[in-house]
């Protein structure tokens, strides 16, 4: 029992929950209360340009961690403190990434697919190499305990992982759709790269690196990317097929929503079971579900899923930042570094610098390469946009912390000096980058792309995404939080021909659309292909249809 009043409760006698469970009851109470506080405070601060919910949660988490430290006087037995990878990867991350896939503007995403892949795969590798080499260069000279080759490579992998959750917080899909899709998409693809990297680091012989290993690595990446994507798409299609076939005529909202939630989660867990990238899988599952499944369900299921997924993702995000904040002050980690605070600060600064350089080293060259392949001036990524892409992807978050724990601790505890340095530095970098870089992203966007010149950013989306005809759902769905699920699918078919004539590069999309209309939608449903009048309330539970 970590608390004074916890001990009092113990004396009163625990009826059904045993003593071991009492600690989890206490921590659940604390976290649920804190999440409620974050939501209310975040709402009150909504008008504030600088703050957002994630930073509020981080600060509240830090304060809570500090208070708990004081209350327990540095005892190590408080359960709520230890960061659990399990909790993070199994319960918190899936809803966030799934919702991002579910609400993403599909057209924008697939238009920039090549650029996203470049950033996510090649860019991550460049950043990884630079940070690893830099760490070797700097840390060898400093006396921070024994680090092996594998540790330096792990540092590279940990700090080249863009945090997609942070990106969701600072970039707005409606205001800067191109930047959002690039930076967020990069973060998703990045996950596959980091899984491949981690597997490679653990399995391959690191001393003998030659062309075969490199080739094996590239092949591994494409295999992982393709299989993860395929698994997500297949699970999504299966859910669409089941709901379309089984529920014809007698829809049940609860069952539909339950099936969608469970199958989305299943796609993630299957990917984890098969050692694929769960993030990629659940992201593509979200995309497929919003394209097919979502149109097969009843009107109330659509509203429910749209908001329920967003709410789950929102709660998970707030919890995550709270958790990172509460965990950051765990005294055990800071014990080793407290005798040399200057060195600890040095390590953190070097890592931050490497992150800055490593990201700059791929964003600008790869943007240049990407621009070479764009014909229209409008499609190119301007320099100002490149600066924002560079800046908005600097944040390191819970993924970095989880990877660091995996590499440098045994079940959340560390005893070795070098490892303790790495853990505290990771936490410092995460806190600093999230707070400082995160706080400055919005003002930077306003400064570089002021609202009146926003057409620079929007040009891409405006040309391809006409203001969607307001359906009767709009008053229900349009809650001002952006991300109209429909926007990407609203182009009436006749414009496809014109698009083909004006911009030949879009013909891939045209053929996909034709294929989609001819084969996929009749099979799996989708906008206009469900057996009811589109846009009308399909739910009447009329028995004569059966």
């Amino acid at each position: 029992m970590a608390f004074g009043w916890g001990a009092v409760m113990m004396k009163l006698g625990l009826s059904r929950l045993e003593a071991s469970d009492h600690a989890s009851v206490v921590s659940i109470n604390i976290f649920v209360t804190l999440i409620c506080a974050c939501i209310v405070i975040g709402h009150l601060l909504e008008e504030n340009r600088w703050m957002n919910e994630s930073i509020t949660a981080l600060i509240i988490g830090l304060c809570t961690g500090f208070i708990i430290r004081l209350a327990t006087r540095g005892k190590n037995n408080s359960h709520i403190m230890v960061f659990s990878e399990d909790l993070f990867f199994i319960y918190v991350l899936p809803p966030i990434i799934f919702n991002a896939g579910f609400q993403v503007k599909k057209k924008q995403f697939f238009r920039n697919f090549i650029t996203i892949m470049l950033f996510g795969a090649v860019g991550t590798l460049i950043s990884f190499v630079i940070i690893s080499l830099g760490a070797v260069e700097f840390f060898r000279k400093m006396d921070i305990g024994a680090l092996e080759v594998g540790d330096y490579l792990a540092i590279g992998a940990i700090f080249s992982a863009t945090d997609s959750v942070c990106t969701l917080q600072v970039l707005n899909q409606d205001e800067t759709p191109l930047l959002y899709s690039l930076v967020f998409g990069e973060g998703v693809v990045n996950d596959a790269t980091s899984v491949v990297l981690f597997n490679a680091l653990q399995n391959f012989d690191l001393v003998h690196v030659d062309a075969t290993v490199l080739l094996k690595f590239v092949a591994n990446f494409f295999y992982l990317f393709a299989s993860s994507t395929l698994l997500g798409a297949l699970t999504g299609l299966l859910s669409a097929y089941i709901i379309k076939k089984l529920y014809f005529g007698r829809h049940s909202t609860d069952r539909e929503v339950a099936l969608m939630i469970l199958m989305a989660y299943l796609s993630y867990m299957l990917a984890e079971l098969l050692n694929l990238s769960g993030i990629l899988t659940v992201f593509f599952c979200g995309i497929v579900m919003s394209h097919y499944t979502w149109h097969n369900v009843t009107e109330s299921s659509r509203i429910t899923t749209k908001h329920a997924f967003a709410t789950l993702s929102f709660i998970a995000e707030v919890f995550l930042f709270l958790y990172v904040g509460t965990d950051a002050l765990d005294i055990e980690k800071w014990k080793f570094v407290s005798d040399s605070p200057g060195k600890s600060l040095g390590v953190s600064s070097i890592l931050l610098g490497l992150v800055l350089v490593g990201r700059a080293a791929f964003v600008f060259p790869l943007s240049f390469i990407s621009n070479l392949f764009k014909k229209s001036q409008n499609d190119k990524i301007t320099f100002k946009q490149q600066v924002i892409i560079w800046w908005a992807g600097l944040m390191r978050g819970a993924v970095s912390i989880a990877l660091a724990y995996n590499q440098f601790t045994r079940s959340g505890h560390t005893q070795q000096r070098g490892n303790a340095f790495m853990i505290t530095s990771t936490i410092t970098v995460v806190l600093f980058s999230t707070m400082v870089f995160g706080l400055m992203t919005k003002p930077l966007i306003y400064f570089l792309l002021p609202p009146n010149s926003k057409h620079l950013t929007r040009s891409l989306s405006v040309s391809s995404e006409p203001s969607s005809p307001k359906s009767f759902l709009s008053p229900l769905l349009g809650n001002g939080q952006g991300s109209e699920l429909e926007a990407a699918q609203c182009i009436p078919r006749p414009t496809n021909l014109r698009m083909l004539l004006t911009t030949p590069s879009r013909s891939v999309h045209h053929y996909w659309r034709k294929f989609d209309d001819a084969f996929m939608r009749p099979m799996f449903g989708g906008r206009g292909f469900v057996p009811f009048v589109p846009g009308s309330p399909v739910e009447r539970s009329v028995p004569e249809w059966e």
Copy 2:
């Protein structure tokens, strides 16, 4: 690793999730897949009068448990098998009970409040005494290992706990509202009684039972009931107040839904922390939230919460029955009884008989007492209805299993012969009562109260609950699953006066309604008291309102 293919996965190298987490990934995959299968099969069997989702889940769970047994050849290290009280009481039960409170017909519930209290408190005690005495009488003569006085009393408590979750499955709120509210309400109040009983059994000196102990017990019950109810109501009112005050003019669906979910859960966890009855608390929190909070949120939040709560509850129920089914075949428990199957069968039969007698001993006398206070012939509980109340409450479910594990095992394992007998008998009684009694409840209702004479059952509800004026929401909300959230609040105010004149006993409700209109609703919102036109889409995120 329990599985052959699990071992294969191990060799492939686990990237981020460590070996200890792998088992949980496997079991999550199995359970999510099984829940999906249950939903689909349950949907296909929906037309079947006998089957329902819970029995489907129970059977699928049993089969899965059997297959896993075969695959692991009886090894005990398979993690998915051990029933976890923690999981049950902290994660599975709260959404089920909260949703029941959220969707309950409030008027029906409060009308029968005295009868429900009689059944839930006095009835449970009667049943407890009879089953305990019966167990002492029968088991002392049989050679089933050492059982102490506390064990016999625990048997009484375990088998007098009506399972509210089972009740939800076999009784339909729309078809038999009186029976539903009586049996389900009894199950909720029952929980408070069983908590008090368990506390009493663990704290009091059992050898010296005198009037003081009894008085203390009664006082304890009323304290626990009042404080649990109050905590639930206060949490609900707080959520209504926060949403009404803070979100005026700029509603955010995700935040509202998140706040409602989190505060409902908080009420349950707070109750557990304070050693109150979490079930009672979260039930009343659900009632208050549906009366006040639900009317303060946006239209899409209303649809989302209504269906999201129902879906969560639905998933939790299916999971629960699957879990009980999978757990039932755990080999360790059956080891001790396999050498004397006849005796095990005898113990189970005796317990089943005691359950039947114990329930009959309070349903019929208490119904008689309850009828004495009813003036109108329509309000009385007919004999046929009494039979159904008796029968529908016979099922013993996960609550009984959880209590049995708590009493007779140490962290899910048992080594002692008498304890093993009790665990296996509990499982047998639960399986038998859920399958046989559960399967026969619906046919029994059809036989005793055939649809054309349903007015006997409905009379109470028809008189007080006029067909609610179909709001514009009806096509969205009316998904044929019954439980119109609104029904209990739809009576136009003018009828209150007429009600007061015709049935004086309803004047309590009249004064409550006046108080509600004068003080509560202006403060906490509610139907017609939110600052927008009632029934219109309130969500427009109009900035000029701020």
